[in-house]
């Protein structure tokens, strides 16, 4: 066979970006499948309890070089992928490649000088994937805030309770948790800052929302903080929350979280 059986090859200038993506999802998900098409690499998977869902999109334009001759599903253990990416140098680039028939995927790390390359092969797995259809939703409320602020408030409120009640009215959003030791309330108001868009807090509100979520998942989502300066929380009543970390030029990570619901008396 000629050497040109490569079905998929993608080069990223910064392996550190891929590393951050994996760090952001590996604790929530175990083994999952990357769907590679000529538009990019994407991943959709639920955590084992089926309470949260993660969607990662890395567009082909975000890569330095991208070639996908035919659609592939790469089943992979994220823990193993994280191990491989630990071997990448801070400034390294990375090439991901696999051919259509192989049972492995190869990661090649190289530096700019070209005097060092490191190649790691990972076994692919056959994973039973269930894709959920995520409907296009007009959310009642969209909050944009610095990702660091979101991480902080989730961490702070976790000390008080397992769940956070988020309620949003015109101009402000409240996060509240309560537990055995007491209660915590955090209020954020709209904040415009033309010169520092990353510090902006914006609230688009169609109608007031009030929802409750488990904090342990939100803390997990906040592991994507290094990927993006801002985060978007999209909410509608009785609907999963969508927490979006945009990766400029590359794509996004979206986390969906099923709400906690007052039990109907049956």
């Amino acid at each position: 066979m000629p050497a040109s059986t490569v079905g998929f090859e993608a080069k990223m200038d910064h392996a550190s970006l891929l590393k951050k993506v994996i760090e952001a999802i590996k604790d929530l998900l175990g083994d999952c499948t990357w769907d590679c098409t000529n538009t990019g690499m994407s991943l959709q998977s639920m955590d084992s309890s089926h309470v949260a869902l993660v969607n990662v999109m890395m567009k082909s334009e975000g890569f330095a070089r991208y070639k996908c001759e035919r659609n592939l599903n790469m089943g992979i253990s994220l823990a193993s992928m994280a191990k491989v990416l630990k071997c990448a140098g801070q400034e390294d680039n990375v090439i991901i490649k696999t051919d259509g028939d192989s049972s492995t995927v190869t990661f090649v790390f190289g530096n700019d000088d070209g005097d060092r390359t490191a190649e790691f092969e990972l076994k692919l797995m056959n994973i039973d994937v269930e894709h959920l259809g995520i409907p296009e939703t007009d959310y009642d409320c969209i909050i944009k805030m610095p990702s660091g602020e979101f991480k902080r408030l989730c961490g702070d409120l976790s000390q008080f309770g397992d769940s956070v009640a988020i309620s949003c009215t015109k101009g402000e959003v409240r996060f509240e948790a309560q537990g055995d030791i007491g209660t915590g309330h955090i209020r954020l108001s709209k904040k415009g800052s033309a010169d520092k868009p990353d510090e902006e807090i914006s609230i688009e509100l169609e109608q007031p929302v009030s929802l409750t979520f488990a904090l342990k998942y939100l803390n997990n989502f906040a592991k994507a903080t290094p990927l993006s300066a801002t985060v978007r929380l999209c909410m509608s009543n009785n609907h999963p929350l969508c927490v979006e970390y945009p990766m400029p030029e590359v794509g996004h990570i979206r986390y969906y979280l099923a709400p906690k619901i007052e039990e109907e008396a049956d």
Binding site: S42, Q44, S49, H50, T98, N126, L132, A214, I261
Partner: protein, 395 residues
């Protein structure tokens, strides 16, 4: 008990139908538990000094111990158990029951002998065979459940069949039992190891009937015939036909009539009295109470009642019981309930993934290869979990 070698057959021909999971992932789920199976296992497994647990006055307490702690374990994981008890055994089962009685009488004799000879191991073995769940055990278990505020349901006949019916009527998510014939009765999901001790560290096994049928490549009616051929509680099986042969025969000849017409009767003698048609009918339409009008309620535990019954009457340690009762009370005030993704987003049907890396573009049957764009177009309707879990068992 159950269907002989069915779990082996599923492992071999439909491994994807079995999912391993942890108990905590079933939070919020209503689960019907085959009480008779569980009580029997408690009496076998929960023992002190090789014999069933008894209190000072000599009353057996293994069943209550199991019922109490294992129910709390489930509740603690957010599961809502409904215990389903056997009613009167179906006529069909008389042969099996007679056999069991015979075996028990044999074991009794063996036990006496073993005791005389003093073989400790044998004594224990025969004692196990003698274990029987009596009406009194059942009544005590029900009384305990009532005090705990946990619902139970009395089946007119077989508990597994009733559990399956409750699943089919969307009243519960799954049947929890070790008895595989819940699948034969049409329970779309069967959970194993739900009533096991935490110390055993056994993962929950979730068996999906629709996937079993799909991967076996047979209908539910054919599945019933296969189970009869494998060996069930209601009639003898044919000597010499093991799981592999049974599977091949049903695949080849489609049903028991076909199998019988083509079977070498000299090699495989069919029992003289082999009422497979009646048994098949029983599996298709067992005697059950429709679940449609039933509502289950999980109520506040009766603390004083529990202490009085378990500690004063049955000799349980009071401090331990109180600790468990505190847990029970705390669970009742747990607040809003976690929902699941499946309550809001629907699964896009996908084909089986045969290979790790799949050249999807060349395969026109694959529907989810462009899932990236597909996801957006999916319907926005909200689906409740129980509605999307409607059984499909080819009836």
């Amino acid at each position: 008990m159950g269907i002989k070698d069915l779990s082996k057959l599923i492992q071999e021909h439909a491994p994807a139908a079995i999912k391993e999971s942890e108990m905590k992932n079933y939070f919020g789920r209503k689960v019907a538990i085959d009480a008779s199976m569980a009580l029997y296992q408690f009496m076998i497994a929960i023992r002190g000094d090789g014999d069933v647990l008894t209190n000072e006055t000599g009353d057996v307490t293994s069943h209550l111990m199991g019922m109490f702690y294992r129910t709390i374990r489930m509740l603690d994981n957010g599961i809502k158990p409904v215990w389903v008890f056997d009613g009167k055994p179906p006529e069909l089962k008389s042969v099996t029951l007679a056999k069991r009685k015979e075996r028990r009488e044999g074991a009794e004799k063996d036990l006496e002998e073993a005791k005389e000879v003093g073989e400790g191991e044998d004594v224990e073995k025969f004692q196990r065979r003698l274990v029987r769940v009596t009406k009194q055990h059942n009544d005590e278990a029900k009384h305990l459940l009532k005090l705990m505020g946990v619902p139970y349901f009395e089946a007119p006949s077989e508990a597994e069949a009733q559990c399956a019916q409750l699943v089919r009527d969307g009243k519960v998510f799954a049947t929890a039992t070790e008895d595989m014939d819940a699948l034969t009765f049409g329970s779309s999901i069967l959970l194993r190891h739900m009533t096991f001790s935490e110390a055993k560290k056994m993962p929950i096994l979730e068996v999906h009937l629709s996937k079993v049928l799909e991967d076996f490549g047979i209908s539910h009616d054919q599945f019933i015939d296969l189970c009869i051929l494998l060996g069930c509680d209601y009639c003898d099986s044919i000597r010499g036909i093991g799981p592999k042969k049974a599977f091949d025969l049903i695949k080849k000849h489609e049903n028991l009539e076909g199998v019988l017409a083509n079977l070498d009767k000299k090699k495989y003698p069919v029992p003289e009295d082999w009422p497979f048609e009646v048994v098949r009918q029983y599996f298709q339409k067992p005697e059950v109470t429709p679940g449609t009008d039933v509502t289950f309620k999980w109520e506040e535990p009766d603390e004083a009642g529990l202490i009085a019954y378990l500690c004063a009457d049955k000799g349980f340690a009071e401090d331990r019981v109180r600790k468990q009762v505190d847990k029970l009370k705390k669970m009742k005030q747990a607040g809003p309930v976690q929902s699941r993704m499946g309550d809001f987003f629907k699964v896009i049907p996908s084909e089986a993934k045969p290979k790790p890396v799949i050249p999807a573009a060349s395969d026109s049957k694959k529907k989810d290869t462009d899932s990236g764009s597909k996801r957006k177009g999916a319907p926005a309707e909200k689906k409740s979990a129980s509605a999307s879990k409607k059984p499909r068992c080819g009836r």
